[in-house]
Amino acid sequence: MTDMTIRPDRAPLTVDVLAGPVSRLRKETAIRWFFFSAALVSIGISILIIWSLVNEAWTFISQVDWSVTWGETGWFPRRGLYDMPTLLVASLIVTIVAMFVAGPLGLGSAIYLSEYASRRTRSILKPVLEVLAGVPSVVLGFFALFFISPQLIERIGRNGWLVIGALIVLTYVALVAGWARNLMKREAGTPVSVQVQRILMLTLLVAGALVLVWWVNGVAETADTFAVKRSGQLAAAAVGVGILTIPLVASIAEDALASVPRELREASAGLGARKATTTTQVVLPAAVSGIVAAFIIGISRALGETMVVFMAGGAADASQFTSSPFDGGLTMTAGMASLATGTDSVVGEGLTFQSLYFVGMVLFLLTLFLNVVAGRFVNRVREKY
């Protein structure tokens, strides 16, 4: 009876049958180990790099006379003057000026690409932006050294900028005066905040424009020197770094904008909002953490950029302390690069070699911090949608 009920193709089931063929298990294990070791080697190399960095930096930290690392005396590592503010301030100047270029242009491009460009325009423009990302920094360093500082400015001339500056100030005063009068006339209860916001934004804009004019003017003043010496300048290098950073900021910001659901834009349009309103009131606020992340990653990129500042920054392997963008200066990265070039280069006073690692470690920690913070912001965008 029982034989009749069990179908002939069903042999009794054992664990061995369900265990599957041994060879397949072996193969899977081997593949797994292969990829694991690939990951292990990469991680191992990173750890080694960090260890050697920390090791040499520690020698510097424990042996250096700390009084020579802080005093605006200038960075002269071969003579034992390891003045950190010289490098830090130069790096800060380059990063800030670079972000003044890359921030607005990067975000602007991102908004145009994601909100305004037709599919065809985007398919043409995006590759162009990617090409910009692929420009070797040596090329941009060269460009910054020979074109951004001397020639451009020479052509524009100096007095023209003073007139433009005066016009900007006059327009500003007229606009603010008009709005202020409006504010006075309106009865209580009107949203003053909107007016104040407008004035604040205009003030910021005008301040930015004036800084630009002042800078161009400053460059123009020293343009003669450039014509002779062809030496660089922090601001010129920074503009080059900024140009290099635009595509990075643009692409991260565009990802953030693209992750805002289409439905939100439709809802806004359905309520009678224009495109510009939808973009500024709905899309940008929804993508704000991604945009902040784009800026932070841009900062981290500008901070780490070496070749452009090395070539166009206007200092060899040593530099006086300077807080002016129009002087030549040495950033952390350029300071390291210039020490480490050539064969017999890293010689001098006892700790010259180690100072390079110390600067490297400071740079590493700064960049790491920025990337971690940026990662946090990116995750916040992802969680929301």
Binding site: A267, A269, G270, L271, G272, A273, T277
Partner: protein
């Protein structure tokens, strides 16, 4: 509506102030269909009563004709339901009523769509102006990442309104049956609301603009029966002030709330071997559900649709 105070009513009317100018110009245009009305049967709406006059409307996505043969005359203060199988173009047609399809680069509309006598697709017409008069509630709740208050106040604000926002927000939330649940946390983020609350917020947001017409695309598909009942109640209440078009997959809902129903279907288009939607029957809801003229309608409402 029952517990809306007179002051709130006044506040709501305030939004309409800027519309008076355009109403005057519209009046001239409206005379055209009135003249034509003499040759149409008795129950055909005309003049002021006629909100939408749609004839031979087709909507394309690129080369693909998604829906064809739409002929509808939609009356003021009526609720029109649009039913039909998935993919027959209900949303597509609905979105062409307030030019929402303009946001889709490939979408194109052919045929005539008159709103109170004005061709909505006239090249001088600004879609933004259209959408301020013809509001929309979407299938998926989509609150902005702002506070509940700012969500509701968004429409009035973009229309340039600055005063009396508090009253508009309150009355809109009351109408959408959400006020009691959120009145103590108006400044909280709208993202934190439940799905059903978010959908009622979307409705409040649309009402806050005080549109003349409300387009609703499956507004209850994410709601539980109680919230659904509330929305249906709401529709009946605001019917006196608005003209409503609602897409729904729920035939009981269509039968319950609507005055007229449009049944759409899909048919294979031999020309390009794709399925094109079409309007099969558009008539009184009671008639459509009890004694439809078209066999396809009958098959669908009795569940015999293939």
């Amino acid at each position: 509506m029952v517990n809306v105070t007179p002051s709130v009513q006044d506040a709501l009317k305030g939004i309409r102030v800027d519309e008076d100018a355009t109403t005057a110009t519209d009046e001239i245009a409206i005379t055209v269909p009135t003249a034509a009305a003499s040759s149409t049967p008795q129950d055909e709406p005309s003049g002021d009563d006629l909100v939408f006059d749609v004839s031979e409307l087709s909507v394309f996505y690129g080369d693909f004709r998604a829906v064809r043969d739409v002929n509808m005359k939609i009356r003021r203060n009526e609720i029109t339901a649009m039913i039909g199988p998935s993919g027959c173009g209900k949303s597509t047609v609905l979105r062409s009523f307030n030019r929402m399809n303009d946001l889709i680069p490939t979408a194109r509309v052919a045929g005539n769509l008159l709103y109170r006598g004005v061709d909505l697709y006239d090249e001088r017409v600004d879609p933004v102006e259209v959408r301020r008069r013809i509001g929309m509630v979407f299938q998926k709740p989509n609150p902005f990442p702002k506070s509940i208050y700012d969500n509701v106040a968004y429409g009035p604000r973009v229309a340039g309104r600055k005063k009396g926002l508090d009253e508009v927000v309150e009355s809109s939330l009351r109408k959408a049956a959400l006020w009691d649940e959120v009145k103590d946390r108006l400044q909280d983020s709208a993202i934190g609301l439940s799905g059903g609350q978010q959908q009622r917020l979307s409705i409040a947001r649309a009402i806050a603009v005080d549109p003349e017409v409300l387009l609703m695309d499956e507004p209850c598909s994410a709601l539980d029966p109680i919230a659904t009942a509330r929305i249906e109640e709401l529709m009946a209440e605001i019917k006196a002030e608005y003209t409503i078009l609602i897409v729904t997959h729920n035939m009981q809902q269509a039968a319950r709330v609507s005055d007229r129903t449009a049944f759409f279907s899909v048919e294979l288009d031999e020309a390009n071997d794709r399925r094109t939607g079409l309007l099969v029957e558009y008539t009184d809801t009671a008639k459509l559900f009890s004694n439809p003229d078209d066999e396809r309608t009958e098959n669908y409402i009795t569940g015999r649709f293939g």
